[in-house]
Structures are given as structure tokens and as C-alpha cells.
Amino acid sequence: MKVHEFQAKMLFRDHGIPCPDGAVVEGEADLEGLAARLSGDVFVVKAQIHAGGRGKGKACRDGVEVGRGVHVVRSPEEAVRIARTLLGATLVTIQTGSRGRLVRKVLVENGVDIDKEFYLAAILDRETATVALMASAEGGTEIEEVARRTPERIHTVRVNPLLGYREFQGRVLALKLGLSGEAVGQFVRLAGNLVKLFMAKDCSLAEVNPLVLTRQGNLVAIDGKLNFDDNALFRQAAVAGLQDVGEEEPSEVEADRAKLTYIKLDGNIGCLVNGAGLAMATMDIIKECGGEPANFLDVGGTATAENVAKSFEIMLRDKVQGIFVNVFGGIVRCDVVAQGLVDALSKVKLDVPLVVRLEGNRKAEALAILAGSGLPLIAAADMKDGATKIVAACRRG
């Protein structure tokens, strides 16, 4: 699960990681009196969406460009004016896709007098089963770029989750970053607090970028990102409460409620598959055959009539131009799946080509059920045959 920058900063402050003072605005009412509450001579106005690249992103209103997603301004009045412009604009960044995202919240903060910028992040390292604490003096930039070009500039220590953070680990990193004097102690505490936050809240990523050393000698987190382990939300009620459903794809939220795993993509061929690995492989083979998958959809190990029906409903609403059903019946018998498919299709109006591939236990009986149903579907002998047929059917339109 992802949260907004302002929510991440709220949790940072709760865990002893200093952030600039600021306010979140969602509408005209929040803008009133805001100018009077700001102080200093530099202010930062930031669109809050669940995607990166905001600083270089393009914000548009009614098709007219109104600037980037992040602004640095010189007066409180200017900050309020920019915030008003960004609210309700559509922001397109390298991570949003061409449709962009509606800006529904804006963060307005006091500026910070920057001396140096660093990168600091805690992330679960799956190979070593530890929390990797990574730091770099190349803060503020795309850390992926740094990792690719100059991996030696990223320094890592590994925190054993049974032991927790040890202060020497922070000192090791602080010295690698070239910190000295009081900043070392500040960094050791801040890094420890980040790891504590990571473990206490079941994060999968806790990132401060940049972490800034101000000219006054203080370490401040001026941007940050927190991702959480979905599997742990059952014990993180406060975190779960931060979810902003407005940032999610509505059809994905609906699928989630029906216990389907659905991810909307840019293509036109819908696919319905049992199992995550096979679902990914099905998308791949559609692409290999010259088509574009419209979604990832895992109906679970056991495809039932109800979740098959729901899947069709969601895919058809998302305007797919064809559907490929690929089910490997193992413990779940193919004839049961076939009957589920027939029942489901009696409830929805299907006006796009449908290719069905069923394999495994009681396949012959399953094919007989499909043939006897009178449904206008194309049967496929195997996965590749199915992918070829749905791509061809969609081309014919």
C-alpha cells in the first residue's frame, strides 16, 4: 500500500524524523488564512499524488498547461495562488501514464535553507532477510540512476530483524556520507528512527529523498515515501486508515473486494487466469503473439462461478475488445470451471470475441459442457493456440 508524501511526513514526525512545517489543502476552505500561518521567505507547493516525478511533471487545467507539480515560491500569497491552481489540475509525470492523475490534495510547506542533500532508505532485502539501510551523498536525484551509473556511491548496512538497529551502523553510514561534528549524532538517531518506523509499521520501503543538512546544521526530511506490506495491514489499523481510495483505479478496488487480483493495463485483450504466475505468463504470450494485454487478472487457484462472473463484469466495463480465459484445472476440476463459465456468461451480455482454454483434470467433460452451451466462444487446444486465436479475433474486430 502507498500513502501520500504528507502522510509519510506525519509518520516521520511521530517517529522523531524532523520535517518542514506545512499544511495540506484539499479545497478553498483550507486556503483561507493559510498565508498568515506560513513563515520565512521561501515556500514549497507540492501536488500530492501516488506517483513520482512530480517536480518534472506537467500540470494541466482544461487542457492548458499551468506549470509543474512542485513549485518553489517567494511569498505566502504566491504559495496560496499556486496551490489554488494545482488543486483540480491533472498532473502527468513519467510514472502516471499519459492520462495523468487528478490533483486532489496539495502540500504547502516552509522552505529550507539547503547546504547538502542526501539519500536515506530502509528496504526489506529479500535475499538476506534483513532490513537494508541505504545511504548516499547523491541525494535528491533519481536513486535508480545512481545505482545504475555509480553503485559504489550507495552505502548499505544490513539490520538483522531479530536484533534491530545498532548505533554503530548509523555511524558507519554517517562517515561514508562525509558528515562530521554534531550532524553525525543527529544522523545516527534519525537513521535508527527510520528503521524503527519501518519495523513498527510493517513497511516495505521507507525512503527519505532528499534528506537535507540545512545551513543551520540540522538534518531535515524534505521529501519522503512510505510503502507498506499489504500482508501486514490486518495488524496496522492506523496505517490501513491512511489509504486514499481516490488514488486507486476504481475497477481494481472493486476486484479487491471480490477477492480477485486485478491490475488494469493499457492493452485491449482481457485475460482471466487462475494463479498469479500463469496470469503473468498469459499476458506475456499474448504480447508474444502480437497482442496487447488489457489487464492482469488472477481469479485464484479455484475459479468459481461467482468470481468468474465478477471478472467478466469488470473487464467488459473496462472496455476490452476480446477476452482470453486460460485456466489450468488442477484440484479444481475443469468441468466445474466450465459450468461456472456458462453460468457466469448467462448473466452478462458478451459482445466481444471470447477464447477459452481449459487444461487438466476432466478436460473432455469440460469441453462437452462448453460445446453444448451454445455460447459463441472459440475453443483453444493450448496456451499458444489460445493466444494466437484471441489476437486474430481482435484484429478482425
Binding site: Q95, L124, R126, E127, A129, T130, V131, I143, E144, A147, R148, N160, P161, L162, M199, D202, S204, L205, D229, D230, N231, A232, F234, R235, T261, I263, L265, V273, N274, G275, A276, G277, L278, A279, M280, A281, T282, M283, D284, I285, I286, K287, E288, P293, F296, D298, G301, F328, G329, G330, I331, E359, G360, N361, D382, M383, K384
Partner: protein, 293 residues
């Protein structure tokens, strides 16, 4: 023979009275697995699927000499169940449960590192050795056939797809292991490749990977340096967008790392036959085996 399983494998089912536990205990016994005990707190002294139920794994071991555990308990208790099985001296623990918090598994993995317990999973279909008629898992056993190909996979139904292709081509299997679709799992590709390399009854190995992490890259390096047996591979997720969790908690491209293209490149460079599509996995193994003979 097989890796990890043997004719001496005596299984205790943790969570035997739950829906999935009960159902699969029946299927495992039907197949031939020696299921000797079950554990469900509060249900000790009863029978489930004809198997005696105990309060703890320790009790079960003392009464039945069980030496391997399979776990079906709900996600919020499953990490504890792994530790309980290990504490009771189980040599092999297969955790079927999906949805366990990653940090819990990270702690458990660090704990097990200093012990002899071998953990498979979590979020795995399990392990099966067709010649032994022994399965600790939920896979449909009718598609498997005894033979000399080993298989290691991060997914479930995609594994069945591959096994089905192998069986049709006359390539039976020595042992098939699902390592699990979570970020932190017990046995990795590397651990199992090592076991298959040492297994006199395995001639070649199929490796089915997916996006996320760098297990496949590490496996490629190991194969190039240490494996004498042929390996065929497939990587799922070529079309997966970055930053999205593709069903499995572990299947996510993050920070530009863990892409299918990187993995395919690493495997190809190590001389491994990589199947271009999921429909070509069986043929890829056949090609790899023929190349060596």
C-alpha cells in the same frame, strides 16, 4: 529417488481441522504420503481424516515419530507455526499459507539459519516426488509422472502447466518444488539447484522464475560456475509494469530492478536454455537434455 523427501518422510499437518488442511490431508493420503499426525490447538485427542490430532507439534512427534510438517494455518499465526515445527525438531517444514507479513518471515528465516530445519515456502504449492508417491502440498498429482527431471518454481498453476508439458513429452520428474511467491522464502533456487546437482536420480532441472528480486540472477551465476547438469528456464512477467505487485507479494519490479529482461539475459549468458513463451518450457528442457547427450 528424490531430494528432501524419502520413504521415511512422516508428515504432521498443522491446521489439519481447517477446510484446506482437511481436504488436502485426504488427497495427500490418497496419493500415498505417510500422514501420521495432525495438530490443531483445542482439538487434541480427536481424529481428522482418520489421522490422530494433537495439541502441539511436540506431542505429535513424541507419539508418532513425525519428522516433517506441512502448514495450513491462517496467515497471522503461520510464522509461529513454522517456529513451533522447528522447535519440535521437524527436519522439513512446508508452509502452504499465503499472506504472511514479510517481516515475520524475515525474523523466522534468521532464526532458522542457525538450525537444521529446511523450510519450503511460504505461499507455495509444496513438494512432490512421483516415484515415492509422496507429496507435501496441494498440487494435482495426476499430472506428475516418475522420471529424472527436477523442477523448481516460484508459482503454482504455471508449474502445473510446465509439468503437464514435461509429462506429455515423456519427461518424468524426480522431485518438483514450489519455493513460494513471497519476498522472503526458506529454500531458494540456489539451495535447490545445489541439491539437484548432488542428486544421482536427477538428470536435468527446469527453473521457473518471475519478476522481482534477484534469485534468478544468483541462480544463473551458480549454474555457470557449479552445475554439470543441463538447466532449462522460463521467466514470467515480461509485460508486467514496474511498481505493481503482480499477485504474488514477491512479484514486483521495484527501483528498476528485477525485470524479466535482466533475468533472461543473465540466464542466457550462463548457457541456460530459456523458453521464449510458457508454451515452450517442456521443449526447452528436452533441448537442454539432448544438447548434453
Amino acid at each position: 529417488m528424490a531430494i528432501l523427501l524419502s520413504s521415511k518422510t512422516r508428515v504432521v499437518v498443522q491446521g489439519i481441522t481447517g477446510g484446506a488442511g482437511k481436504f488436502h490431508t485426504g488427497l495427500m493420503r490418497q496419493y500415498g504420503t505417510q500422514v501420521v499426525a495432525g495438530v490443531t490447538p483445542g482439538k487434541g485427542g480427536t481424529l481428522a481424516e482418520g489421522v490422530p490430532v494433537f495439541e502441539t507439534v511436540q506431542q505429535a512427534r513424541e507419539a508418532t515419530d513425525a519428522n516433517a510438517a506441512i502448514i495450513f494455518v491462517p496467515a497471522r499465526f503461520a510464522a509461529d507455526s513454522v517456529v513451533e515445527a522447528s522447535d519440535a525438531g521437524m527436519e522439513l517444514v512446508v508452509c502452504i499459507t499465503e499472506g504472511i507479513p514479510a517481516l515475520d518471515m524475515a525474523r523466522v528465516k534468521n532464526l532458522l539459519a542457525s538450525r537444521g530445519t529446511v523450510l519450503i515456502g511460504p505461499n507455495t504449492p509444496g513438494i512432490i516426488a512421483p516415484a515415492l508417491h509422496c507429496k507435501m502440498g496441494i498440487m494435482p498429482d495426476m499430472i506428475f509422472s516418475p522420471g529424472r527431471v527436477g523442477l523448481i518454481s516460484r508459482s503454482g498453476t504455471l508449474t502445473y502447466e510446465a509439468v503437464d508439458q514435461l509429462t506429455r513429452l515423456g519427461l518424468g520428474q524426480s522431485t518438483c518444488v514450489g519455493i513460494g511467491g513471497d519476498p522472503v522464502v526458506g529454500q531458494t533456487f540456489l539451495d535447490l539447484l545445489e541439491r539437484f546437482e548432488a542428486d544421482p536420480d536427477t538428470d536435468g532441472v527446469v527453473l521457473i522464475g518471475e519478476i522481482g528480486g534477484n534469485q534468478e540472477e544468483r541462480a544463473a551465476r551458480f549454474i555457470a560456475e557449479h552445475m554439470t547438469k543441463p538447466v532449462a528456464a522460463f521467466i514470467a512477467g515480461k509485460t508486467a509494469p514496474p511498481g505493481r505487485r503482480m499477485g504474488h507479494a514477491g512479484a514486483i519490479i521495484s527501483g528498476g530492478k528485477g525485470t524479466a529482461a535482466d533475468k533472461v539475459a543473465a540466464l542466457t549468458e550462463a548457457g541456460i536454455v530459456v523458453a521464449p513463451t510458457p508454451a515452450d518450457i517442456g521443449v526447452a528442457m528436452k533441448t537442454a537434455l539432448e544438447r548434453r547427450s
